[in-house]
């Protein structure tokens, strides 16, 4: 059968949707979705999220690109998400190809399919979606007429594990470069340029990485010696794109409002981009530098338009560390007093560990005390210095006391285990700190004047450290899985007390995440093998199978454990050295060395420039609106 939009829609309604769970994932037609006549657009762009609708619909980057692309008359941008297992089976049974949600036409009819790389374990879904779409999974097998498969997002800072499947990567922020890509493509398409020359021209756009134009060179021991450009037009180092002035950047004042409940089902407004707190394990904190704020006026203006256009009754201010916004207090106050009476709530995803944050939370959550989240990350001051998390125990205790006194009975604490230099003492420190927080709550609940009506609950969420490219800890191996499991056990034993609950990230998933995050081109073979063996939606525990990954790596002649856990010598060439975030490798190395000496590095927003180089390399600078401007 040759599938077109009419046929897909018919079979969906008559056969597939009645039999799958959550058919709303596949119906499209949501408020704010844009339907254009494809025959009247010169370039068609499919934004593809390698996870299910429920997750993908909350992704802000997609909303921004969808809006920017659809504002152009010559472009139609549509969306697609990975189908859940039941839907995939039903589609495969009938031979129905992956389709877009707007026009319900086959994905392979688009000029571009753009994937976002948010989480390493979602990569197999990319291969699966391509296969479902009837598009060759290997980039080298694609021909004229096949769509260009492109990818961006934080995962693209180490593109190598996906090099074989993606035609080109977009490194950095997409707002501006997306238009350049479309313009160039439109011109070349009109001229009838073949695929290879389109790729050649694309590689000259700043921020575009065409992996087939590069070749890795390995030494006798199998270690990477360099990744060198094959084509003359390909730059030696691909530097990320960055939006210099966020206040002038396009931000959607309307977006697709899902019917079904998705994660983060609320209006989202990005208040600033970047974070220079400098946590040494954090990739986002390095790759999104420098900090660029939106002005309070623009934030409020956008808030008003977004709420009006979407009809949401909740507005979430988003940023890497929202309360670091230099105008946070003023803006929150204004928003709450403006929209509170209309029954619209403002929400804060997580708090900084200080009483100022709790005071702001009080203002925001006047009535609905859902729970506060703090992230001390490590259990001892020594280790917190190593990771550059400038949180003192006194600050945390003061903040949680303020929270309990303010009437919150649920506190969530984020910690990480397996951090570089970690010892048993640090693990016990987590237990001790968590108990201290819990005891403070019990004490306040027991006092007559306390605002607590329920027994306090402290939920401790423990993730495993995953080394990420372009961070000061990129050289550090992940702790072996047995060690992580042992640490989890130790922690469990030392926190058995009423009111304290522990939850984990699956250590096996973290292992695979680490192996891919620091993977080189050889990992692409394992990726493909894992998909062949059945990997689909591996970001879901029901879809994840560690043994399958071990087998996939083994059959590709690689060791999963070694990719994840080996320490990389500081002087070795890294698989992502030809991708630049603007932050210099020297800075990362200096940060690594400071970490090993237990020295902290202050935030350049509040103190002097710490020399990460991004401002110089990208000819930009931090932009703050409130006090705190240097």
């Amino acid at each position: 059968m040759s599938w077109n939009s009419k046929e897909i829609m018919r079979v969906l309604q008559d056969e597939l949707l009645p039999e799958v769970v959550k058919p709303q994932r596949y119906i499209g037609n949501e408020w704010g979705s844009v339907r254009k006549d494809p025959s009247r657009c010169e370039v068609s762009f499919l934004l593809a999220f390698p996870d299910i609708y429920d997750i993908g619909m909350s992704h802000l980057g997609f909303k921004i690109l969808y809006y920017i692309l659809n504002q152009r008359e010559d472009v139609c941008a549509e969306r697609t998400y990975a189908p859940w297992h039941d839907m995939e089976n039903a589609m495969r049974q009938r031979g129905m190809p992956l389709f877009s949600l707007e026009s319900h036409r086959p994905a392979r009819e688009f000029d571009f399919i753009g994937f976002t790389l948010q989480y390493e374990l979602s990569y197999p879904a990319i291969l699966n979606m391509l296969d479902l779409a009837g598009i060759p999974v290997m980039a080298a097998s694609r021909r004229d007429g096949d769509p260009f498969i492109i990818a961006g997002g934080p995962g693209a800072y180490n593109p190598e594990p996906l090099w074989a499947f993606i035609d080109f990567f977009v490194i950095g922020e997409g707002e501006e470069v997306i238009g350049e890509i479309v313009d160039l493509y439109r011109e070349l398409k009109k001229a009838g340029a073949p695929r290879s020359s389109i790729l050649g021209r694309m590689s000259r756009i700043e921020g575009i990485y065409v992996p087939s134009f590069y070749e890795p060179v390995y030494g006798p021991g199998g270690e990477l010696e360099e990744v060198r450009p094959l084509a003359s037009e390909a730059p030696r180092v691909v530097r990320k794109r960055v939006v210099k002035d966020l206040d002038r950047a396009v931000f959607p004042d309307s977006f697709v409002v899902p019917f079904m409940e998705v994660v983060h089902d609320r209006a989202m407004l990005e208040v600033f981009r970047g974070c220079t707190r400098g946590c040494r394990f954090c990739q986002a904190g390095m790759v999104y530098r420098p900090v660029r704020e939106r002005s309070p006026e623009r934030v409020k203006e956008l808030a008003s338009r977004i709420l009006k256009n979407t009809g949401y009754d909740e507005l979430s201010l988003s940023a890497l560390s929202i309360l670091d916004y230099s105008c946070a207090a003023q803006v929150l106050h204004d928003l709450v007093s403006r929209y509170g009476p209309e029954g619209i709530t403002v929400s804060l995803p997580s708090l900084r560990v200080d009483t100022f944050s709790v005071d702001l939370a009080k203002e925001v959550e006047k009535t609905r005390k859902t729970g506060l989240t703090f992230a001390p990350e490590a259990g001892t001051q020594r280790l917190r210095n190593v990771i550059n998390k400038g949180v003192r125990e006194e600050d945390l205790m003061e903040a949680v006391r303020a929270a309990f006194n303010g009437g919150w009975d649920t506190i969530k604490l984020y910690f990480m285990i397996g951090l570089p230099t970690e010892t048993t003492e640090d693990i016990l420190g987590i237990a001790r700190l968590a108990r201290a927080v819990r005891d403070a709550g019990v004490e306040i609940a027991g006092s007559k004047t306390g605002a607590l009506t329920r027994f306090p609950r402290v939920n401790v969420s423990v993730a495993s450290f995953v080394p990420k490219a372009h961070t000061p800890f990129q050289w550090c191996g992940q702790a072996p899985m047995e060690e992580l499991l042992e640490k989890q056990r130790l922690l469990k034993e030392s926190t058995k007390v009423k009111g304290l609950t522990l939850s984990w990230h699956d250590a096996g998933m973290s292992l695979v995440e680490a192996a891919i995050a620091r993977g080189d081109r050889r990992v692409a073979r394992a990726m493909r093998r894992a998909w062949e063996l059945g990997s689909r939606l591996d970001s879901w525990s029901e879809g994840f199978d560690l043994v399958r990954w071990q087998r996939a790596f083994e059959e590709s002649g690689l060791s999963l454990e070694s990719y994840a856990t080996r320490d990389i010598p500081l002087d070795q060439v890294l698989p992502w050295d030809h991708i630049s975030t603007g932050v210099s490798k020297e800075y990362l190395r200096a940060e690594f060395e400071r970490a090993m000496r237990g020295e902290v590095t202050p935030d350049c927003r509040f103190e002097r420039c710490s020399g990460c180089d991004v401002c110089f390399a990208l000819r930009t600078s931090p932009k703050l609106y409130g006090k705190g401007v240097r």
Binding site: P18, N29, W31, F259, T310, G311, G343, R368
Partner: protein
Amino acid sequence: MQARLMQVRMRARLAKLDMARFTSHLDFMRTIGRATRRAGIPVALTEGFHPHYKIAFGPALGSGIASIAEYADFILNCRIPGEEFSRRMNCALPVGFEVLEAREVPLTWKSISSVVDAASYEMGLWAPDEGPWRVVEELRRRVKAILEAPSLTVTRQTEKGLKELDIRPKILDLDVVEKDGNDPVFLSMIVTIGDGGTPRPEEVLQCILSGRVPALPGQVVSRAESSDPHPIAVGRVSITRTGLFLRKGRDLVSPMEAGE
């Protein structure tokens, strides 16, 4: 606060069609709530810690069933004409949702879900891909059998396992409607709702299509025939809720007309 203002109650009948029929009742409620905000409809807020909009909906509709009879009550802080309410809402509703009519009703009326006790459905049957399709006579025969039988037992999956249920007493009416030609053929059905054991349209349809209908009184049915009923093959099926009613004696009254 605003609760002291003069409030009015707007009752609306809404449609949920095409792809939108695959949204859940919860989705439907969210969608309508958000549309009122986009449309700037002055819906009143409840008092209390976490205020929410005073919108009350009628009985839930199963996923996959279309409807031209979804009802909702909106408490408004000021009076606006029904036509204006409809117009503004229809500019703010996504494809597949529509306000079909709206009018102000007394604040004293009871909630839709507490007064509505009957529903009508229309089931469209399309011929399978191959061959001519002559089913009207057979459908009529089966419908008649159901109407004349004292009981019609269906099996339902509940939390406690399979349960047998007699839905016949709740079927008020069942009929075959042929609209110009024979593709599609429509079955119309009216059932009582509200007090548990409400017949689901797909259940009744299943009984009819599978031939699992009671034998007509006086008809001699051989064992072989009854254990091996002859199923009617259909291409596609559509189910639409066409009405919700209040039973007043033998009459069915629309919730737009009565509320007590």
